[in-house]
Symmetry: C2
Subunit: 220 residues, 2 copies
């Protein structure tokens, strides 16, 4: 059974909102994510349910099925491979690629994706640091390293913190080192191990080795 472009987009949204299929997702949340109205979502859920990519109990939200997960991961794979292409080959900035990849991901040609993958040298992560599922939908989660263990000039993305006390989070927020921020290690002071970090390609911040040790990063 084939999915239309709209169905593919809904399925991807459901996959993301459900954290890869673990949670159940509400109609309203999907409407928010898809920038559409709940009424439209209800219609679409019936269709997706007919095609057996979700399990749908009216008024009780949806669960993605194994088949649905596989389909969603294929779409995500295509999206992320195209993002790598746009950044690595066509010199797009990493924050310019999403919209175009959103269109490219719906091109139907398994051969194209296979060849593109090879051409890009089988990348495992997209320009945002998100993992690229393989042909079979397997995803290898990227190892997380404490920020203070990164090499000089290494780039990465903040994905989590070890110490989640309010004080620490408040500090991070203040300096702009939010979860999801793109960072680069600009300098390391040998004396105390403190770091100079570039955040989102625009803001330089300094932090102690201690602080950096509590920030988890995926490298890219």
């Amino acid at each position: 059974m084939n999915l239309t472009t709209a169905e593919e987009n809904y399925l991807k949204a459901i996959y993301h909102l459900s954290d890869g299929g673990s949670k159940s997702v509400s109609t309203n949340d999907i409407a928010g994510e898809m920038k559409t109205k709940p009424a439209s979502v209800s219609d679409m859920l019936r269709k997706l349910s007919d095609k057996e990519v979700i399990e749908y109990r009216k008024y009780y939200g949806v669960h993605i099925t194994e088949e649905g997960k596989k389909r969603a991961l294929q779409t995500i794979r295509k999206h992320r491979l195209w993002e790598v292409f746009l950044v690595d080959k066509l010199n797009f900035a990493w924050d310019e690629v999403h919209e175009v990849a959103e269109e490219l991901e719906h091109i139907q040609s398994p051969l194209l994706i296979q060849r593109l993958d090879a051409y890009l040298n089988y990348p495992k992560f997209d320009p945002h640091g998100d993992p690229i599922p393989d042909e079979y939908g397997d995803v290898r989660a990227r190892p997380r390293v404490p920020l203070n263990e990164m090499d000089l000039d290494q780039t990465g993305q903040i994905v989590a913190v070890k110490d989640s006390s309010a004080a620490f989070l408040r500090y991070l927020d203040k300096v702009g080192a939010y979860i999801g921020a793109r960072i680069k290690v600009l300098d390391r002071v040998e004396f105390d191990g403190s770091l100079e970090i570039l955040v989102d390609n625009k803001k330089n911040i300094f932090m102690s080795k201690d602080v950096a040790g509590n920030i988890l990063v995926i490298q890219s």
Copy 2:
């Protein structure tokens, strides 16, 4: 005014059927080309006429407007650039690319096409030897050279013959050197200037310098 994917495809068909806008085109011919029914074509012609990309007098066929020509050429440009990408970068065979390019040509991103063009080194012809219009829709027709003037290992496509006598055409037909055939110069005998030619990547043929001089080729 933006065109939908379907409208873009109809406009391209009209452009081709009208020989680049010089002839008027009938509803039936469009239906044939688009593999759809004349009734559907009538509907679409009304839409294209509303958007002022064609001039439409009921029962008397259509003419493409200047604006329509520009739009069609942009779509053709995108199609052919993607074909070059697929062949040059992803190692598709030149006869495998059409369907995929048919989808890729509808991706909406001027920046993407600009970057792709640069990445491919501003190609002037697609893998079938057809010219790629520039950003402004200008097309430079490819120069035709007699086959005997081609260099060793050069590839190209047969586009015309100088001598169109029945005997000559019968000979060409017999050896498989039809108009449109892809050829490659494999060897040249210094003694008499005769050539060994690979046709459509599968058949080796030999021909005298005289014969080759009567075959016009575009190089690729």
